[in-house]
C-alpha cells in the first residue's frame, strides 16, 4: 500500500454512528489514481464496503463525503461530492454541491469522511482538523436548514465553520430530500438528505487549517492559473456571470425549444418573461455570489421588494433547473410566489427538481381525473396556483396528511400506486425525475437523462465521450461551469498538467479516458448488482418518445425509437458493454474491475 505523495492526504475518516467511535483509514495511491476521488472513488468504496441489496434507509447504508485532488488548491471552484446508495432510485446515488465546505474537508486533512451505522439520538458532526465530535442536535431537530446552520455556528462558538445540513424533509426521510450548504446551495439529487436523516445526522460542520501537500507547487499553480483564465474568459459564460443560469430560461423558450412546461406537455411558455433571468435581474437580484476561487459567480441573491405578501423575502436564484421546474413546469407567473416556493424547498431541504416534477405530475393526473382532491387533503392544484403549490411543498417536507405521504413518494412510486395509465405522465428515468431541458427540443440531453448512471440527472454529459469527460470531472469534484465548457479546448491536457505536478504521477490523456471509462463502468456494475439495471432502463419516459412537441421553436420534435436505439448502441459500443448494456467480461478485466465480474456477468 503506497501513500500518495501529493494532492491527497491519503486519509479517510470512518465514523461509526452507532457506537460513536471513529477510525482513520489509509487510502492507497493506486486506488486514488484509478478512481481519482469524488464520484469515482465513492462508487468504488460503496461497491467494496456495502453489502449487496442493502436497504438504503437502514443503518447498514454508507454515506460518504468525498473531495477530489484539486480541492483546497489554487484550482478554481472545487466542490464537494456525497455518495451513498439512493433511497429514491435504489441504485448508486451521488450529488455534488458548491460552496466553501468541500475545501474545508480537505484543509481538515480528510479526503473522505465515511458514515456508517445509525446514531441512537439526533446528532451533528463537528470536525476540526483531526478532532471529531458528535454533538447533540436535539435543539435543532425539526428546524429548517437556515436555523440549523446558525445554531451550529453558535453552538461551536466559531462562525468560521462551514456547514452542511438537512431540513425537516431529510429528517422524515422524504425520498428526494436534499442536503443544504450555506443556506442556498444543495446537494439535491438522489435523496442524500433522507440517508442522513435515517442515520439521525442533522448536519456536519467542518473547519480545517492545513494545506494540501504538493509535489511541485510552482508547476501546479501555473497550470491552475491557466485553468482559471479559461474559466474567466470563455465567451459562452459571460451570460452566466451576468444572469446566472436563470438567463437560460428565456434561451430555452425562444431558441432551443427545451423549456419544460406544465409537466413536459410543451416547451413553449411566453410567460417566461415574468419568471426568467431578466425579470429577476430587474426586480429581484442584489448581488453575485461565488464559490471559492471561482471567477464565474453564477449564484445570485435577491430580495422581494415589490410589496405583497412576501415582501422582504431573501432567496437565491432562480437558477435554470430550479426556476423551470418550480416555475414554467407549474405554469407560475407571479414572481414572488414562485421565489417563495423555491426558498421553501431550500429551507425545508427538498430537491427542487424532483419537487417541481412531483407537483406538475400531481396537477396533471388530477386534471385527467386519475386522482381526486380527496387524495390531496381536499387541495386542488391547477397550473399557476402558487398558493396551493406552496401548501403542498410544506406537506411533502413534513409528510403531513394524505397529500404529504403520497407526494413524498416521487413520481414513479406515485404512478405505480395510481395505476391505470398514470405512468404516461410520470417523467422519470430509473425512478429519478428529469431535470429542466426537454430532450425533444435538445436531443443531446437525452444521453444525460437516459444513459447517465444516476437516472434522470442533467449533469452526466451529453454524449458517450461527454459522459466520460464529466465522470472524470465529477471525480475531481470540479464544477462543470469551470471544468466543463471552459476547458474544452485544453481537455484533458489541462487536467494532466495540474494533476501530474501535484501528485508526481505521469497521467496521459489516454489514461484519462481509461480512468473515465472505469469510473462509469464501476457505477454501472454497482447499479447492475443493486438494481438489475440494463438496456430496458436506459430509456426516456414514454411521453417524450411518443408525444411530439405541440408548439414552439422545436414544434413537432419527438425522441423517436430510432434516436433511442442510436443513443443506446453508440453508448454501449463506446464503453465496451454488450447489447443489453452489461459490461463484457473483457471490458471489466481491461479496466481492472475483476472484482465486479461475478456480480455483473451473473446469468
Amino acid at each position: 500500500m503506497a501513500e500518495p505523495k501529493g494532492g491527497y492526504f491519503g486519509k479517510m475518516l470512518e465514523i461509526d454512528l452507532t457506537s460513536g467511535k471513529t477510525q482513520v483509514r489509509s487510502l492507497d495511491e493506486g486506488i486514488l489514481r484509478d478512481y481519482i476521488g469524488g464520484e469515482g472513488l465513492g462508487a468504488y468504496l460503496l461497491y467494496k464496503e456495502l453489502p449487496a441489496k442493502t436497504d438504503p434507509l437502514s443503518p447498514q447504508n454508507i454515506f460518504m463525503f468525498l473531495t477530489g485532488p484539486f480541492n483546497g488548491t489554487a484550482c478554481p471552484s472545487t466542490r464537494l461530492n456525497v455518495s451513498f446508495k439512493s433511497p429514491h432510485t435504489g441504485i448508486y446515488g451521488h450529488s455534488q454541491v458548491g460552496g466553501p465546505i468541500g475545501n474545508e474537508f480537505k484543509w481538515a486533512g480528510w479526503d473522505v469522511v465515511m458514515l456508517k451505522g445509525k446514531s441512537p439520538k439526533p446528532v451533528y458532526i463537528a470536525i476540526t482538523n483531526d478532532k471529531v465530535e458528535l454533538r447533540d442536535a436535539a435543539p435543532i431537530w425539526g428546524k429548517d436548514t437556515y436555523e440549523t446552520e446558525e445554531f451550529m455556528k453558535k453552538d461551536l462558538k466559531d462562525d468560521e465553520y462551514k456547514t452542511m445540513v438537512i431540513g425537516p424533509a431529510g429528517e422524515r426521510m422524504v425520498y428526494y430530500s436534499c442536503i443544504i450548504v450555506d443556506r442556498f446551495r444543495a446537494a439535491g439529487r438522489s435523496g442524500g438528505g433522507a440517508v442522513l436523516g435515517s442515520k439521525n445526522v442533522k448536519g456536519i460542520a467542518v473547519k480545517g487549517t492545513k494545506s494540501v501537500p504538493m509535489v511541485n507547487v510552482e508547476a501546479f499553480n501555473k497550470a491552475a492559473k491557466e485553468a482559471w483564465q479559461l474559466a474567466s474568459t470563455v465567451e459562452a459564460w459571460q451570460g452566466i456571470k451576468r444572469w446566472g443560469t436563470g438567463g437560460l430560461m428565456e434561451f430555452a423558450n425562444y431558441v432551443s425549444g427545451s423549456l419544460v412546461t406544465k409537466n413536459y406537455q410543451t416547451t413553449w411558455y411566453p410567460d417566461v418573461t415574468m419568471i426568467g433571468g431578466e425579470e429577476a435581474s430587474r426586480t429581484f437580484w442584489k448581488r453575485h455570489v461565488s464559490c471559492p476561487g471561482c471567477p464565474v459567480h453564477c449564484m445570485k441573491l435577491g430580495v422581494i421588494r415589490t410589496g405583497g405578501k412576501y415582501d422582504g423575502l431573501i432567496a437565491e436564484g432562480p437558477e435554470y433547473e430550479t426556476g423551470v421546474l418550480m416555475g414554467s413546469n407549474l405554469g407560475l407567473t407571479e414572481f414572488d410566489e414562485y421565489m417563495k416556493g423555491i426558498e421553501t424547498c431550500d429551507a425545508l431541504g427538498l430537491d427542487t427538481i424532483s419537487t417541481g416534477n412531483v407537483l406538475g405530475f400531481t396537477t396533471e393526473v388530477l386534471e385527467k381525473g386519475l386522482i381526486t382532491p380527496a387524495d390531496l387533503d381536499g387541495l386542488k392544484p391547477t397550473w399557476g396556483d402558487g398558493e396551493t403549490y406552496l401548501k403542498l411543498v410544506n406537506k411533502i417536507a413534513l409528510k403531513e396528511g394524505k397529500a404529504g405521504e403520497f407526494l413524498s413518494l416521487g413520481v414513479k412510486r406515485m404512478a405505480d400506486k395510481i395505476g391505470k395509465d398514470a405512468h404516461k405522465y410520470a417523467i422519470h428515468v430509473k425512478g429519478q425525475e428529469l431535470a429542466a431541458h426537454d430532450p425533444r427540443g435538445f436531443k443531446p440531453r437525452g444521453y444525460s437523462y437516459a444513459m447517465g448512471q444516476l437516472g434522470g440527472c442533467h449533469h452526466e454529459g451529453n454524449s458517450p465521450e461527454g459522459q466520460a469527460l464529466w465522470a472524470y470531472l465529477s471525480s475531481m469534484v470540479m464544477c462543470s461551469f469551470v471544468a466543463g465548457v471552459p476547458w474544452t479546448k485544453r481537455n484533458p491536457g489541462i487536467v494532466c498538467d495540474m494533476l501530474n505536478p501535484m501528485t508526481g504521477w505521469d497521467t496521459t490523456p489516454e489514461e484519462y479516458w481509461t480512468t473515465a471509462k472505469r469510473i462509469i463502468t464501476v457505477m454501472r456494475a454497482f447499479n447492475i448488482r443493486e438494481g438489475g439495471v440494463s438496456r430496458k432502463d436506459d430509456i426516456l419516459p414514454v411521453r417524450l418518445r411518443t408525444e411530439p412537441l405541440p408548439e414552439g421553436p422545436m414544434k413537432g420534435a419527438v425522441y423517436s425509437d430510432e434516436d433511442t436505439k442510436k443513443m443506446q448502441d453508440s453508448y454501449y459500443a463506446y464503453y465496451g458493454w454488450d447489447d443489453n448494456g452489461i459490461p463484457t467480461e473483457e471490458t471489466l478485466k481491461k479496466l481492472k474491475l475483476d472484482f465486479t465480474v461475478a456480480d455483473v456477468r451473473k446469468k
Binding site: P100, Y146, S211, V212, Q229, S232, R242, S290, I314
Partner: protein, 241 residues
C-alpha cells in the same frame, strides 16, 4: 502623511459618536475611487502577469488598503493569493492575513488591515521592549524581535484592533500582520482579476487620507449588519416570512 510620526496622531476619542457622518463622507470619497478604478481596468488580469521579483522602489510602494464591501462575491481569491504569497505558493486560508467572513449566508465582509496611523495594536503590545512596531517606510507592522512576542499567552493586540483584523497563526499562536506584500498587495491584484466584470473590492493606495481611520472602527459584524440592511433591507417582521 508618512512623514508624521505615528505618535503625533492620537486616535480621536469622539470617533465612535461621530461615526455616522464620518462614514457618510468617506463613502462619498470611496465612491469616487471606485468609478475611477472601474474606468481604468484595461490591463490584463494581474494574476496572470509574470512575477516581477525585483523589489519596488520606495516611492512605488503601496501603503494602505481599502475595501468596497458591497461588491464582494465571497470568492476568497484574496485569501488564496495572500496565503500563496506567504506560504510559498500553497493555498491555506487559515493563515491568510486578509479574510472574508460570511454572515447569515447572504453577506460577505472582507476584513483587511487598514494600516492605521496610530497603530492601536502596537500601543497595546505589553512587552518591554515591544514585540511589534510600525515600519515608517512601508507603513506595515513588523515583528522587532521574534522571541519577545508572548504568542498564544497574550491577546492584547488582537483585542486592540478595532477592525478585528488580527487572527492567530493556527500553529505558532502568533498574530498575523498584513505586510502589504512588500508594497504590491497580492489580494488587490487577485480581487481585480476576479472582478473584471463586477467591481474590485480590495483596493490599495499610497495615501490614506483619513478614510482608514473611520472605516476601521467598523467591526465585521457591524459591517455585515449595514450591508444586510442596505442590500436586503429586512422589514420589521424580520427578513423571512
Amino acid at each position: 502623511m508618512s512623514e508624521r510620526k505615528p505618535d503625533d496622531l492620537e486616535r480621536p476619542e469622539t470617533v465612535n459618536s461621530s461615526r455616522r457622518c464620518f462614514l457618510k463622507r468617506s463613502a462619498q470619497i470611496a465612491g469616487g475611487i471606485a468609478i475611477a478604478s472601474i474606468q481604468s481596468v484595461a490591463s490584463p488580469p494581474a494574476i496572470l502577469a509574470a512575477d516581477p521579483k525585483a523589489p519596488l522602489k520606495p516611492e512605488d510602494r503601496m501603503k494602505y488598503l481599502f475595501v468596497q464591501r458591497e461588491h464582494c462575491t465571497g470568492c476568497r481569491s484574496c485569501e488564496y493569493a495572500c496565503s500563496q504569497y506567504h506560504e510559498k505558493g500553497a493555498v491555506r486560508p487559515a493563515v491568510a492575513r486578509v479574510h472574508v467572513k460570511r454572515f447569515h449566508g447572504v453577506v460577505d465582509v472582507p476584513v483587511i488591515c487598514w494600516h492605521c496611523e496610530d497603530s492601536p495594536c502596537v500601543k497595546a503590545c505589553p512587552t518591554n521592549p515591544k514585540a511589534i512596531a510600525k515600519d515608517k517606510d512601508t507603513n506595515v507592522i513588523k515583528y522587532i524581535d521574534d522571541k519577545t512576542c508572548l504568542g498564544a499567552k497574550c491577546n492584547k493586540c488582537i483585542e486592540a484592533c478595532p477592525a478585528q483584523f488580527l487572527r492567530r497563526h493556527p500553529e505558532t499562536g502568533w498574530p498575523m500582520f498584513c505586510d502589504l506584500c512588500d508594497g504590491d498587495p497580492e489580494c488587490v491584484k487577485a480581487c481585480k482579476a476576479q472582478a473584471e466584470d463586477t467591481a474590485a473590492v480590495i483596493r490599495t493606495n499610497k495615501a490614506g487620507f483619513g478614510v482608514n481611520l473611520a472605516y476601521r472602527e467598523v467591526t465585521p459584524k457591524e459591517a455585515a449588519k449595514a450591508l444586510h440592511t442596505s442590500l436586503f433591507y429586512p422589514n420589521k417582521d424580520g427578513e423571512r416570512r
